[in-house]
């Protein structure tokens, strides 16, 4: 099992760092899945995480100048590692002006992802900073826990309002209630609602637009049959939504959410070479 990769472009390095920073704000531990073409940061929904799950997919070729992978075996040419993204973040933080950053799977006292950055220096010899990030290799028999999530049969799919606005609304609502209801319909309307004994607050968004999933989308009812004004809603833990919005360092080119009525909130952020999906289960 071998892995070795190299980034030499500063822009790619910065972009990669922002993605890792985003992931590190969403979870303390996640699985890094490496294949020949992609990297995935995966968090599988568990009681411990409150059922939240995450799938972040990067196309390797857009970041790395060199990328060599030898997986567990020829027919399973992948590597699954459990890692603390915060360590990754820390290691990348001071390497932002590096001439090159190499990442390699190594074994020190335990398996590590070793990140070595060649930094500019005052002399002819570069400074080299090396970080050994401890990881756990996940055995093949557990890989099924970290499969790509199925797109749920959603009831409504809608583009999100500008993230900044949404974030500030959610931030204020968090002071009033622990739970927030996000509802939307196929008319491009979305409401964020909180309700307590003393107060209820609703923020209305209009003309957001609905992504055209088309025939291959897995919608429970095609657009023509669903009443466009009918709201699908999900009541979620407001902290989880806030955490997701807060962590965003990459401004997505597309941000949307799919709602499975009273079941799941599925948030999708797309960028040219990165996609991030976040699933928040609904609570009663």
């Amino acid at each position: 099992m071998k892995f070795r990769a190299k980034i030499i472009d500063v822009g790619c390095l910065n972009h990669f760092t922002r993605v890792v920073n985003t992931v590190s704000r969403l979870t303390k531990a996640c699985v890094l899945r490496l294949t020949c073409d992609h990297l995935y940061f995966v968090l599988s929904g568990r009681v411990a995480t409150g059922g939240v799950s995450m799938w972040c997919e990067l196309s390797q070729v857009n970041f790395f100048d060199e990328f060599q992978l030898e997986g567990v075996s020829a027919d399973a040419n992948e590597i699954f590692l459990e890692v603390a993204p915060e360590n990754f973040s820390r290691a990348l933080k001071t390497a932002q002006n590096a001439k090159s950053v190499k990442i390699k799977l190594t074994k020190k006292t335990c398996p590590c992802l070793t990140l070595a950055a060649e930094l500019p220096s005052l002399s002819s010899v570069s400074r080299v900073v090396t970080h050994d990030i401890p990881v756990d290799v996940i055995p093949r028999r557990l890989w099924h826990d970290f499969r790509e999530p199925q797109m749920p049969d959603f009831d409504v799919s809608i583009y999100l309002p500008p993230l900044k606005t949404m974030k500030s609304v959610v931030d204020r609502m968090k002071n009033l209630s622990n739970y927030l209801v996000l509802e939307a319909n196929l008319n491009g309307e979305m409401n964020l609602k909180i309700e307590t004994d003393l107060v209820s607050v609703t923020t209305h968004f209009k003309e957001l637009g609905n992504p055209p999933w088309g025939d291959d989308g897995s919608q429970s009812s095609s657009p023509t049959h669903r009443d466009p004004d009918l709201m699908a809603e999900a009541r979620v833990d407001i902290k989880k939504l806030q955490q997701f919005l807060m962590g965003q360092q990459v401004n997505p080119s597309k941000a949307m959410c799919n709602i499975v009525h009273r079941r799941i909130l599925h948030l999708i952020f797309l960028h040219e070479d990165v996609s991030l999906q976040y699933f928040i289960p609904a609570v009663v």
């Binding site: 567990v72 398996p111 590590c112 055995p139």
Partner: protein, 386 residues
């Protein structure tokens, strides 16, 4: 005692005090023949710092002729006088430090613009002279660098990092985070920075060595050096001997003396470093061999439900704070032993000079004639009684 500092030197004085505050809770103030000595020491006596401001630093420098005055006071109260560095710059023209012996107060007066006077009367405690024994000139290794280099280096380590390991060879310097030798540490993230000797203004290494000391206490000096632009010199020897960091210019000298871990333990990162050293010389792609495949096979065939670690050395108790031994020598030679069993490591405390400087004593920072006494020869098995 009556000292007056003017202009930019007021800010320098303030910065010196702020950097001393990173070491200990109390500021020891003592006018000596060579100038005004400001000192501080940490509670475990493993870090000591001293700024000696020469008479030329001051516009006026008047000290009691018998040189019998010395005092200490909580450093926070002195810091409060010099609170905002920016406003010191803008508005303070002069700073006067006077001893008011009738009222037993140290009066610090800031003469500001527009005739404004801010007077602070600080109470102090009499104390004995605080002097750590160290001799820079007898150290085998000397490095000197611009503060920017040190600051940039330290940036790679988290602000919370306590201890750092410095290793030198004939042409390289490695800085690593030091990790405690216990079960948890095998999972800690290790960071190592390698610098070439060429980056240093002066690089004199006569013995390849590796020392571990507390980085936190040093940060105060780094801030001072960076703002003053003075190069930092580092003097050190073998593990156990203190490391001395020094900034000097024509009117002041700052010395930060830190104890280093003695040789007893063999930190894991030593093992890494020895195998890593050749690697940094070789073509960069050639990392050390990783036996991932056999590790994986071993793991797959095990009965454990999930990933298992390579077994590490048995966990050892190490309460760092207790492991630092104390050795006071103010009034009495008091020695405290460790609380827990045979220690697996200890920071050798600094040896402090004896009490009252006799008239024949040169009241200097470094007692040239005295050898550096770095390791204590106390009985480690003595149970702690305090």
């Amino acid at each position: 005692m009556d000292c007056v500092a003017t202009g930019g030197n007021v800010k320098v004085l303030a910065k010196a005090i702020h950097s001393l505050s990173r070491i200990g809770e109390e500021l020891y103030l003592e006018p000596v023949e060579d100038g005004l000595a400001l000192r501080s020491v940490n509670s475990s006596r493993s870090a000591f710092a001293c700024f000696l401001l020469s008479p030329l630093f001051f516009q006026r420098f008047q000290t009691p002729s018998d040189q019998s005055f010395r005092c200490k006071m909580p450093i926070k109260s002195v810091q409060a006088v010099f609170k905002s560095l920016a406003s010191l710059d803008r508005s303070v023209e002069k700073c006067r430090i006077q001893l008011n012996s009738e009222k037993s107060r140290l009066t610090i007066t800031l003469h500001c613009k527009h005739g404004l006077l801010k007077t602070h009367n600080l109470s102090f405690q009499d104390c004995e002279s605080l002097q750590a024994v160290f001799d820079k000139d007898s150290c085998a290794n000397v490095l000197q660098a611009q503060p920017r280099l040190m600051v940039d280096t330290v940036l790679h380590f988290p602000p919370s990092l306590e201890e750092v390991n410095l290793s030198v060879s004939s042409d390289r310097v490695w800085l690593r985070n030091h990790v405690e030798d216990d079960a948890d540490s095998s999972r800690a993230m290790m960071t190592e920075l390698c610098l070439s000797a060429e980056e240093f203004d002066h690089f004199a290494v006569s013995t390849q060595t590796s020392i571990t000391f507390c980085l936190k206490e040093l940060r105060g000096l780094l801030v001072f050096a960076e703002s003053s632009g003075l190069p930092i010199s580092m003097y050190f020897d073998e593990p156990g001997s203190p490391v001395i960091l020094n900034v000097t210019d024509s009117v002041l000298e700052g010395n930060f003396v830190l104890a280093t871990l003695s040789e007893e333990s063999h930190p894991k990162n030593h093992v890494n470093s020895n195998t890593k050293c050749p690697d940094t010389e070789q073509p960069p792609d050639d990392f050390m061999s990783d036996d991932m495949d056999s590790f994986l096979i071993a793991m797959e065939t095990s009965e454990l439900p999930g990933p298992s670690h390579v077994p590490t050395s048995p966990p050892r108790l190490s309460n760092r704070k207790d492991n630092r031994k104390h050795s006071f020598s103010e009034e009495e030679q008091e020695e405290e032993a460790l609380t827990e069993g045979p220690p697996n490591k200890k920071f050798c405390s600094l040896f402090f000079g004896s009490v009252l400087p006799t008239p024949s004593h040169m009241p200097n920072q470094t007692m040239q004639s005295q050898e550096v006494l770095a390791s204590d020869s106390e009985d480690e098995n003595e149970p702690q009684t305090s």
